[in-house]
Amino acid sequence: MIGLFLQRIVQGAMVVLAMSLIVFVAVYAIGDPVELLVPGEATQATRDAVTRTLGLDQPLYRQYLLFLKSAATGNFGNSFVFNIPAIQLIMQRLPATMELALTAMMLAVFIGVPLGLVAGRKPHAWYSRAIMAGSILGFSLPTFWVGLVLILVFGVLLSWFPVFGRGSTVSVLGIETSLLTLDGLSHLFLPALNLALFKISLLTRLTRAGVREAAPQDYVRFARAMGVPPARILFSHILRNITIPIITVIGIEFGSVIAFAVVTESIFNWPGMGKLIIDSINILDRPVIVAYLLVVVILFVVINLVVDLLYAAADPRVRLGENRR
């Protein structure tokens, strides 16, 4: 277990290092980094100063080490627009994105898994077919388009939910959250549902496939022969056995939810880091873009690490396989 842990940490560190190299090459080595880092209206004197500070007269590997050093201390320069450190700007927006992503994932689990259980138990019933047709629709509908329809229907036509921003927030341990106010929750619902839709479809299909695979197996037939009620077979026998793939997918998909938050945040004006990166790209706020990239890479590496460990903890086969080696 510890060996696996160390191995994964080293792998993760390698990925972060590789990505930092790619970002470095893309932003600093291709094109003139001074052009990228200095606002257009800067004077020649400023340009020279920046060139010197960046150490552009030094060989490329020295430049990369310099970049690594400043990145390691969280120094990506100041945002051109907000004039505060880029990393600080992203950290301010991180809680809003996490809140949205977590809520979306919860919705996906609590809607998708039950739907999948229902559809898997009676695969040929009309409601199961309807659920599966709905899941194809959920896969095919582009996230941004669903967002628009949600805004149109629930925000404009029915006026049930607000469709703009985050609502009122409460500060818990220094982190602003809208989970604890009614206004905040009503602002959160539509964007979270929008973000969750794709994952609901995914979990529905996954759960259904798991149930169908488990149904003809001996332990299920045995339980049925013993007269265990069908609901109990479904929830305590089958569900327990398909939990592992579901947990894995939830972990893997959490990263993709954070990535897709970019779309949802832009539509619902949710003040998270996804909206920040789109705004930054549109106004070429390079320090923020670079900082965002590395923060997201680290986030992904951590998520993948946690998923791997959870997987090992949940499935004895993985754990034992590692020990035997």
Binding site: L152, A259, L293
Partner: protein, 308 residues
């Protein structure tokens, strides 16, 4: 149909009849699913509409001289100044929405399909080579594929477009970068299986060249699964392009794709001019859904486990 390449050359007329029979059988099997047939028909209508957009559409949406701001935001069914009817209304710039959608479909399809073709070719070459050569080259390529696939496509595309800037060529580059790994992995997986088959052994025994074995024996037998992945990927590529364009970092304003049309209509949505955003949205939806359903059918047909 997957053994054609291994068969010794038959008389020409005989092969033709075989091919025809195979195609007929394929069509009949495909037609067994009504959903798939309807989807294919819808897809054909959309593709024909896109290809013949200049002929069908009542107005050239790129001709700025023809546009008048006075015609903007007319509801569907309004008669235009030139006598034809705006069946889907007009957008914020006074463009006939039906024409804009047909041209938008065209751009979306061109970007989607070309990115798939390029990415598929790259994945095909790399995947085949990795499986055939094996060893370090294979391991290195698969690490790269793993690394790429641990990041969601939208994030990779976003990053690339953030660094490259917006444009048709750049969007295609970003979409190719997102997709190639899927094909490389699929091709490698099937090539690894095919490599061990007798016909490859026989070809090696006949001392055919590596190139010949790769292109004439392995390649044709690795194609079916990768084509299925490719069909699904066209719809993914189109959705991703629409999303990126909607966010304002994909295609340029001058050639609006469906995503950009939806984005342009978004600002009028809250004011009640819903059709400007909804109509291109439905077009996009029909396109993506029909491709997905056709691809679903193809996948089921090529998967022997599901065939019964």
């Amino acid at each position: 149909m997957s053994v054609i390449a291994a068969r010794p050359s038959a008389p020409i007329e005989h092969t033709w009849r075989l091919r025809f029979a195979a195609i007929r059988e394929f069509a009949l099997e495909f037609g067994a699913s009504p959903t798939a047939v309807v989807s294919l028909a819808a897809l054909l209508v959309l593709v024909v509409g896109a290809v013949f957009a200049p002929v069908i559409s009542p107005q050239n949406p790129y001709d700025l001289a023809k546009l008048s701001i006075l015609d903007s935001r007319l509801p569907p069914g309004t008669e235009s100044a030139e006598g034809y009817i705006h069946w889907l209304g007009t957008d914020g710039m006074g463009r006939d929405l039906l024409s804009a959608i047909l041209y938008g479909l065209r751009i979306s399809l061109i970007v989607g399909i070309s990115s798939v073709v390029v990415a598929l070719s790259i994945g095909l070459i790399l995947g085949l080579a990795a499986a055939y050569i094996g060893g370090r080259a294979d391991a290195a390529l698969m690490r790269l594929v793993d690394l790429q696939m641990s990041f969601p496509p939208i994030l990779v595309a976003l990053v690339l477009l953030a660094l490259l800037g917006r444009g048709v060529d750049k969007t295609v580059i970003a979409l190719v970068a997102v997709q190639w790994a899927y094909y490389a992995r699929t091709v490698r997986a099937s090539a690894l299986v095919e490599r061990e088959r007798e016909y490859v052994e026989a070809a090696k025994g006949m001392r055919l060249g590596h190139w010949r074995i790769l292109t004439r024996h392995l390649l044709p037998n690795c194609l079916p699964p990768v084509f299925v992945v490719g069909t699904v990927q066209i719809s993914h590529a189109i959705t991703l392009e629409a999303t990126l364009s909607f966010l304002g970092i994909g295609l340029p304003e001058t050639r609006p794709s469906l995503g950009l049309l939806i984005a342009n209509g978004y600002q009028y949505l809250l004011g009640g001019n819903y059709w400007i955003s909804l109509c291109p949205g439905f077009a996009l939806l029909a396109l993506v859904l029909s491709i997905n359903l056709v691809a679903d059918r193809l996948r089921d047909m090529l998967n022997p486990a599901l065939a019964k």
